[in-house]
Symmetry: C2
Subunit: 762 residues, 2 copies
């Protein structure tokens, strides 16, 4: 860990100014000649066979340019788990059946939105309604109606983990308890809904401007479903107004806009309304978690069994990953030698679930963290001490999952939190109705398993050095507001010894870059960061070779690059400017600019992640026993993100995560009735707003992650995970009542307190 010039500095997110001054052109802002507006007709049934679609009347409406239905498609199913063809079960437009209320049935392209909407009303669809399944009970019942034919049951994904010997483990325990936890459907709620503009040129090339977290996934899925080759499709990500996991997958707006553009020869935009955003995009997977944990008297964790049901909804999407992650992250961030997991993803006729920030981790973490406090209470151990005792350490490994945890600052995080929150004092002295709780977490830093079946490196970058001292960085990394562009530039500038403003980034376009899987699984810092560094170092090596000659370097002398100078390390006075050095290298190549390439695909890092981030959070709450309303007074998080490439951006992630975590803990709940979303608006779906937010404090614990660029790892998703547990545990402290269901609404709280009071009264 040298001392850095650019890395580690709190450079403002490079996109901030242009965004706040209104200059950023988002996908929905794009105008082009002849642009048509597309709208999608949605199924009013949760489960039905399509008997007939009559578009005759709608087609005749003046201003309608084209209507497409499943019959206009190739009927090719898509999905995210391309490595398992049976998981490719979704269609851009339904061909035979609709499987949830909102399934895409037809799409219209018209000269304006009003015409498109009017046309939708004129389309007549004849359905044969089918019996539907909405709950685990209904879906898993013997002889239940099948959401997808051809499967034996609606349980289409089963994941198991078996570490150590759980039976023996439990036998050795002094105390074993089992609890059942419920987590809710959560909507991602980005400011910008799903939106894309498709354009098809007469030579057979499709271009999609898209608000997406993965230009590559969209490119591949578009190509597959439209019968094109991958590179006949270009996906260009513009500024993205938030994603949070909901823009990782492939959506019917992308499919329909593209197909309509191909059919009409004109550009087509489809932008989801807020209602569509709530009803037909993904949601966080609701889970029922049965967790059984056994400990020694002193609090040492010995064995755990976790059994989870996941409501995946009507299509598989990314939930096989969730199913896996919910198993793995039920174990983290503690040393539990014996662990067994059974996860079952269940088809229902609800809206499909998918990834969301803290993917698959938040749910089991809530269960585990709440249960730990109940155990601590039972054993009379301070919950913080219980965690310290069992915390994972660098050098630990999880058989079959993580060969080695190469960095882990969890213990330090807990200790810092303890100091910062005056933990002991508050645990003892907080008045009636107030409480403080802790929760710890871990998260992946760069997902590994190649379920998408890519033939490309996970990340690749190009770096071009210009003889005016500037550098171009070409990358497919998707900046979706998290600031990855900013930190990638920091890395390149650091490696080349130049300033932040010397680097221009060209990013997020499948045609000006080579490879990247997208912004998910907190992978970009580590995966693309490594690729970018390799590319920068490759370019630097080419320059150093020439500079070496120029400076008449002796064999043992080494060059360094810093502050725009390339110098002999042992004789820093002997230096030439970076621009001059590049110019010399370029001349030596007949004028051809110096280019470096670098790629990264994780190797030898096990099944799950390149690295693991850790952290601990404390919440302090005040519970109004009359109303059940909980106010969070403080939220303090200590996060181990390895080296913080940009502390300001880490802080930004923390602030956003706190907001999201609190909403999920206390207010957010996408509610369904027979497949129908009951609260598809910001009036009825309750997000925390600015005045609702408590003071949020962040403590960055820096470790050095050997697999990460400059020692960096994840700093964005992990932070959303602990809040449910921290709040519930604080409420346990404040009220003595256990909360095992998210969100913890005032009603829930009120009832729990009432129940508790009844118990007390004999």
């Amino acid at each position: 860990m040298g001392s850095y010039s650019v890395v580690g500095k709190s450079i403002p997110n490079m996109d901030s100014l242009v965004k706040v001054t209104g200059g950023a052109v988002y996908t929905g802002d794009l105008k082009m000649p002849g642009l048509l507006i597309g709208k999608i007709l949605r199924s009013p049934h949760a489960h039905a066979r399509i008997l007939n679609i009559n578009t005759a009347k709608a087609s005749k409406l003046p201003g309608v340019r084209r209507i497409i239905t499943g019959k206009d498609t190739l009927g090719i199913k898509y999905g995210m788990w391309r490595v398992r063809p049976e998981f490719l079960d979704e269609e851009g437009l339904a061909t035979e059946k609709v499987r949830y209320l909102g399934d895409a049935v037809a799409a219209v392209a018209a000269i304006d939105e009003d015409t498109a909407l009017e046309a939708l009303e004129l389309i007549r669809v004849e359905y044969e309604p089918l019996p539907a399944v909405f709950t685990f009970e209904e879906a898993m019942k013997e002889g239940a109606p099948l959401v997808h034919e051809g499967f034996k049951s609606n349980v289409n994904v089963i994941r198991k983990i078996d570490i150590g010997d759980v039976e023996k483990g439990f036998k050795k325990c002094d105390y074993v308890r089992e609890d059942t936890f419920h987590t809710q459907s959560v909507q991602h709620c980005p400011m910008e809904t799903h939106v894309c503009v498709a354009s098809y040129d007469p030579l057979g090339k499709l271009t999609l401007w898209d608000s997406t977290q993965s230009p590559y996934f969209v490119q591949v899925n578009l190509a597959a479903t439209l019968g094109l080759r991958e590179n006949d499709v270009r996906v260009i990500k513009g500024y993205v107004g938030g994603g949070f996991g909901n823009k990782v997958e492939f959506f019917s707006n992308e499919f329909c806009a593209s197909l309509l553009a191909m059919k009409t020869g004109r550009p087509v935009r489809i932008e989801y309304t807020r209602r569509e955003e709530f009803t037909v995009t993904r949601r966080r997977v609701p889970e029922i978690i049965k967790m059984k944990t056994g400990v020694k008297k002193d609090g040492t964790l010995v064995a755990r069994e976790s059994t989870i049901l996941l409501d995946g909804g009507a299509y598989t999407g990314q939930v096989p990953t969730t199913t896996m992650l919910s198993g793995i992250l039920g174990l983290f961030p503690y040393r539990i030698p014996n662990y067994r997991y059974l996860g079952q993803r269940v088809y229902t006729n609800n809206k499909p679930s998918g990834a969301m920030r803290g993917h698959g981790a938040l749910q089991p973490n809530f269960a585990s963290e709440v249960q730990l406090d109940l155990i601590a209470e039972e054993l009379g151990i301070d919950p913080l001490d219980l965690r310290l005792k069992n915390a994972m350490q660098a050098g630990d490994g999880v058989p079959g999952i993580a060969p080695e945890i190469t960095s882990c600052g969890l213990t330090e995080c807990i200790k810092k939190l303890k100091e910062s929150t005056h933990w002991r004092k508050k645990r003892k002295e907080l008045p009636e109705g107030r409480g403080i709780g802790i929760s710890c977490y871990a998260f992946t830093s760069g997902g590994i398993f190649n379920w998408f079946n890519t033939t490309l490196p996970f990340s690749e970058a190009l770096v071009k050095l210009n003889n005016d001292g500037t550098v171009n960085l070409y990358t497919r990394a998707a900046d979706i507001g998290q600031g990855v562009n900013t930190i990638l530039i920091q890395m390149v500038a650091e490696d080349l010894g130049i300033r932040f403003e010397d680097v221009r980034i060209i990013a997020g376009d499948t045609e000006t870059s080579t490879a990247d899987l997208g912004a998910w699984s907190s992978r970009l810092t580590i995966h693309m960061g490594n690729a970018v560094r390799k590319a920068a170092l490759d370019a630097k090596r080419q320059v150093f070779e020439i500079v070496g000659e120029k400076l008449g370097l002796r064999l043992h002398e080494e060059l360094g690059a810093r502050d725009g100078q390339i110098y002999i390390k042992e004789r820093p006075d002997r230096a030439i400017s970076f621009a001059e050095a590049v110019a010399a290298a370029q001349r030596a190549k007949d004028g051809m600019p110096i280019m470096g390439r670098g790629a990264y695909t994780p190797k030898g890092k096990g099944l799950v992640s390149s690295a693991w981030s850790f952290g601990a959070q404390a919440a302090e709450v005040e519970v109004n026993k009359e109303t059940g309303v909980v106010r969070v007074l403080h939220l303090t998080t200590a996060h181990d993100c390895g080296t913080a490439i940009n502390p300001r951006l880490v802080d930004g992630q923390l602030e956003g995560s706190a907001h999201m975590g609190l909403g999920q803990a206390l207010s957010e709940d996408l509610m369904f009735q027979e497949g129908r979303v009951l609260n598809p608006s910001f009036r009825d779906y309750k997000l925390f707003t600015a005045p609702d937010m408590p003071e949020v404090k962040s403590i960055v614990v820096e470790t050095y992650e050997p697999e990460g660029p400059f020692g960096a790892k994840e700093a964005g998703e992990g932070l959303t995970i602990p809040t449910g547990g921290a709040v519930a545990n604080a409420m346990l402290h404040a009220t003595g009542a256990a909360f095992k269901r998210l969100p913890i609404t005032p009603e829930e709280t009120f009832r729990a307190l009432e129940k508790k009071a009844k118990k007390r009264r004999p």
Copy 2:
């Protein structure tokens, strides 16, 4: 010359369909949030000192966002001949003096066009008018007012050529004649006027969407004048609605839009009106050519002396090149062993001149070709035979200019023309008032001399192979309608043995490409073509290495690529598909896509051009002796463009050239009075329209140019050159009168006929 699969095929210009169906987004179509409209205040004086500019009132006009004058600039002068700093004499906004009527004095950015125009009217400029010079006589007179201070005279460029011994040559001649010729100012008249949109981001990066023939020249000049580094400026060329040489240079709209964007932080568009296009952009250089030529009795050319004055107007721009080319091309396409040239570019207070299709060649060619017919008449030799006798041949060289003409189909062109036009018969038998004339020409195929002082290769390209069988071609080549994108794709497809539609091109953007000088001097086919081929072959080599292993190639066996297959040449049954081969090569590189790079900078090809194209044209005319109106009945051109990469595009170039050539021969004339353009509109400036056009016939004579990709060379500019001469010679044939001034208007014709009639009457 093997047999090709894609090269040589008449594939339609890839942009045609999107253009004719209205889908092409031109620069002027771009919309972005907060877009401001810029307008430029122009000098009403041809020569004046700026005493004061008062923008106070204009600044207060609601909707005005910013006004800039010379005081807001760095006062850095720019130009095209960067290798000679004294030729950098132009300013984006005048700081002290205005030098022609139309010089840019101030610029406004406002919320809309009306507001910007109103603001211009409110700007008060105090001028001190200075004596001005408009004609050669005025400008070259002893003690004439200097357009630019610091020079000894207004003659700021002098070019000389001296080959053989002209004095001795003339002494050996049997016949010597001297004539003086005049050529006019010609306006390029693209459908789309000059237009750009500038955007400046808060991190100091400037982006300019521009209708330009050279993104690179604009990038460099913008950086130089704005105090930025080259690569802090990105220039993106969109579809271009014609250039013809007028969009090669750097213009005040590009400068002012950029500076206004920097000052306002908002995007700014400046689009020239048609009037501005006529009055403040470039024009073809008007020349006065004194040509003295001596021949043997049998017509053998022995010596020539050419003395040319060029009205360069107020700024130097590219006219040093014109001055050179007008010297060189007064020699071509004939063997003239003794040649002397003196070219003087003169500063005047007229609008600046610049490059135009057939740059510097059209003017001396007119002189030479008309004079040849006068010589032929005198010697009693058929003009076609005179040309055949003196025609350059492959293997010839011109000392100091062209070490070796490596391909030349001129003789075949003349012979083909003779047959096709029934030359002999028509020369004898055409009725009174009808005539047929011939004219020959040569042109450069790729300018060489590095007057712009680039540090980059002249052209560079990247080729990326994808494992789905597609290929991406990255190039800075500027397709301005001529179809270079189409033929570059043909070359890549040919080299890789794939189909046209397998290649996607990413072009014309300084940030997604490395190097190219632009679309001028008919250089792209040969310069970028060579770069593209090298890149394709570099990529192919990488694939062949792996395929060789895969197919277990023996040492002596060679691979071929054709029809999407890579095969052993001697055993074509042993093949694998291109996609498979690329996939294998990619796997061998850990998934990294295969990329090839290639660059081309001419070497050992002399001072002027990588290669030379040749051709001959015949015009048949009918002269109305009552009105002086000339009707061109047929125009037949035989053109040697080496290998025609795409015969349909060559034809297209010919059709357009015929249109342009005829306008310049007969109707186009940008007229000036004391520096004021008298006819700045399509009402008064007479272009040939579709009904005016005669039948145009094209004969492609293919040679093989060793320096050209697949043997190709120029096919676009050369074709505009001969028409003035061919028409004048046909009129000489029809009427017996010599025409030495362009355009040959009905008035001119009428007077010449009258004069001739008077002479006949004793």
